[in-house]
Symmetry: C2
Subunit: 330 residues, 2 copies
DNA sequence: CTGAAAGCGCTAACAT
DNA sequence: ATGTTAGCGCTTTCAG
């Protein structure tokens, strides 16, 4: 393998000049630049990036902590991160934590050991078990919630949820059920807050008996629907805290002959690709997943480069999408 | 930042011994091992992995070339890769090529420049524009097709497609349409081959007028359905080369009042999560996405470690899932 | 089992 | 603008 010394020799120059020719071409005379390029081509020289990173103490790498890469929302955020990172000359190391704290620690160790310069965390912050932020590590939280004590990029979950409930109220619904995520999940907390705000605004009392805890997965949506089915006085609308549970609920209702939206309105959250394909298509909230990733990467790279980041909390616009699954109560 | 020299000094040992204590603890006396551990803890020493990789010439990193990370199937394959890589002490660099050859080249350059030890390629091999395999680079193709000239892990697309068509034939269908992917896509080629084999086996002539080219996306499925709708003698079943187009086709048929499966049977391919949620749920083929990723990672890591890999082509079992979208013609 | 010492390939002063 | 040179922090012979 050719080294920079071989190139220098072949070009009749010093290693220092070759190094500069590669990193700051404008600081090398045109003729020598040509010589260097020729030598590189002739020897098929490929710089050893490992040596380069080591020597320069810059890894130009980000690690992305993601609870589950096989979740489409996260995958889209990552896609946005990748775009920005690539353009800035950064690589992205994938940290699929599979919801394990131990794995999360392993990945954070990568920045402690210089393998990466910073972290983008896709798990929403919870005081009880947060490993980040840390003073010695650059990090930004993406798709986070209210009160995240670090740089963060997110939508207004409270506002989005409130808007969704107001949509139902405006249609004439008075008894609006909920299928939440796990109680302690920050997204659940924010979205539930929005729900309560909307009800309060309409002067409707909060009724915990029609707020059912799910876990963001299909089966929890289905079983929640069954519980609604069994109620003597069923809500006329159900607000689900993600699309997957909403789709499940629709199916759960259908099994008892309850039609959506004629008999009951259902709303989702996330705007999964499929939510426009289902029958009926879903009224839902679209998060700008790629944008969230892009912005998070921009901030982190800025931080790494030592550029001041005046804004700590980036709240991006969401999109409220009305489709077929909601209508006025009969 | 503490270096290995600081640790050596604090422990009253040489750097060589400390280095060994870290990499081959069994080759250091227990008492000295303890001294080293104490010194490490006292100084809060974190080895500089960049130096380590540089010096040892091992990056312990894989790059995954993926056409689109925001495609659930790929995301799942990557999840499998990650699991195996983590357990083997490898990191995975994400190479989201967004279908660009230029980007693909950039990522391959990472192994030329020592940043990574090998590549897993999720884009199926096509002779016209393949950048891999290359003699100087370890690579394995995951989710590939027939005749891939490198280590590969895949299912038997031809067989799966054939089985699907035979299922329809057994139900009594004689006129079976197809919505394919792009013509030159290797998966399209393989699956079309299976379709033709099945027809030939049943003594039915291939009729190109009911084979419509799609592009694996929703809209192409929808417009294909419209073309079927307009046919004087519509097929009684349509075989779609992925779930997304199948779901779209079902919707397209529904818009003209054509019910699935009563009026027409529809099949998918991939077993997306949603394909069991749709109404009707989809008859489809499930690829073992995570397993494909795991196996590909195992092979690549074995290759990197210099272990002989006797098997070049790994064909994994798929699952044939019959749901509600297929039935006998009326 | 341990220590001494060389050096991986590159960058970054510093001189010229 | 170019050359010289001193390492970066670690691993890895090689002696002992």
């Amino acid at each position: 393998m050719a080294t920079i010394r071989d190139v220098a020799k072949a070009a009749g120059l010093s290693t220092g000049t070759v190094s500069k020719a590669l990193s700051k071409p404008e600081s090398v005379s045109p003729k020598n630049l040509v010589k260097v390029q020729e030598a590189i081509a002739r020897l098929n020289y490929k710089p050893n990036m490992l040596a380069q990173k080591f020597r320069s103490k810059r890894s130009n790498t980000l690690v992305v902590l993601v609870p589950d890469i096989a979740n489409l929302f996260f995958a889209k955020v990552i896609s946005g991160i990748e775009s920005v990172a690539q353009d800035a000359g950064f690589s992205v190391l994938l940290g699929d934590t599979k919801d394990s704290q131990a794995r999360e620690k392993e990945f954070i160790k990568m920045v402690e050991t210089r393998l990466a310069d910073g972290v983008i965390n896709l798990r929403p912050y919870r005081e009880q078990d947060a490993l980040l932020p840390r003073d010695d590590i650059f990090s930004v939280a993406a798709s986070s919630c209210e009160n995240t004590p670090s740089y963060s990029v997110r939508i207004d979950n409270v506002g989005a949820s409130k808007k969704m409930v107001e949509h139902l109220l405006n249609l004439g619904h008075k008894r609006i059920g909920v299928i939440t995520g796990l109680k302690q999940n920050p997204h659940t907390i924010d979205r539930l807050k929005g729900y309560r705000h909307a009800l309060a605004g309409a002067g409707i009392d909060y009724d915990p008996s029609i707020v059912i805890e799910g876990d963001f997965n299909y089966w929890s949506g289905l079983s929640a629907a069954e519980r609604f089915n069994a109620m003597p006085s069923r809500p006329t609308a159900v607000c689900c805290f993600n699309d997957e549970m909403a789709i499940a609920a629709i199916r759960g209702f259908a099994e008892k002959g309850i039609r959506v939206p004629d008999d009951i309105s259902v709303t989702g959250f996330d705007n999964m690709d499929v939510s426009k394909y289902t029958v009926p298509s879903l009224t839902t909230i679209a998060q700008p997943a790629e944008k969230i990733g892009e912005r998070a990467a921009e901030i982190l790279i800025g931080l790494i480069r030592g550029e001041p980041q005046p804004v700590t909390e980036h709240v991006l616009p969401y999109e409220f999408i009305i489709r077929e699954s909601t209508t006025s109560p009969q």
